[in-house]
Symmetry: none
């Protein structure tokens, strides 16, 4: 999970993940979106690759990258634990429920949203 958190810490890499969420893309298509040089993009892709968040497939002379969103699950779950009460029994205050309220709102608006994060509806 260390590598995942580190991979996400960079804004360029986060934007690359968003691009790949829509569809798989070649390196050229990705690099086109940024002001930095293509080798710089190449290294961001290497970081993402070694974190397992993306994989690549060589097609002709192009290399396509695709996202593996499942890799985010562990991090999401770690983060979501902070929305739960700390100890065994602890009363919910406004701060602790904030995260879950927002998620509930979103799910209500999107009937098909995923349920991979466990929830503890009080």
């Amino acid at each position: 999970m260390d590598e995942i958190a580190g991979a996400i810490a960079d804004p360029v890499r986060r934007q690359i993940l968003e691009l790949l969420h829509q569809q798989r893309r070649s390196v050229g298509e990705i690099a086109e979106q940024f002001d930095i040089s293509r080798p710089a993009v190449s290294r961001h892709l290497r970081v993402l690759r070694s974190s397992g968040l993306v994989s690549d497939e060589l097609v002709g002379r192009q290399r396509f990258y695709m996202l593996h969103p499942e890799k985010l699950t562990q991090l999401i779950e770690w983060l979501a634990r902070f929305g739960e009460p700390a100890g065994w029994e602890r009363h919910l205050d406004a701060l602790e429920t904030e995260v879950y309220r927002t998620r509930r709102d979103r799910r209500t608006r999107h009937p098909s949203s995923s349920d991979d994060v466990k929830e503890n509806t009080a």
Copy 2:
């Protein structure tokens, strides 16, 4: 959100957040858990403070830190979107528009690109 992602990228800071999830703690209590020097802990706390994830309260000569878990919401939401099918981005809410506005800004800023991104779906 940049600061949040960066704050979480460090393992020491993640562990500090876990300590503070249970209860508010003084700097001494926190530093006690690590092998690094107290000033090093102090700087990790400064990073967490400037990200808004924690705040501090001076009590006598001790300084207590406490967690603000609701600050994690934006990041959780961003991550959770990758579990949903792509294309829902058109469905606007505050979070999604912010991400897309940033992306559009960056792309508009370099007019050298001949075209929009080509769709090459198989």
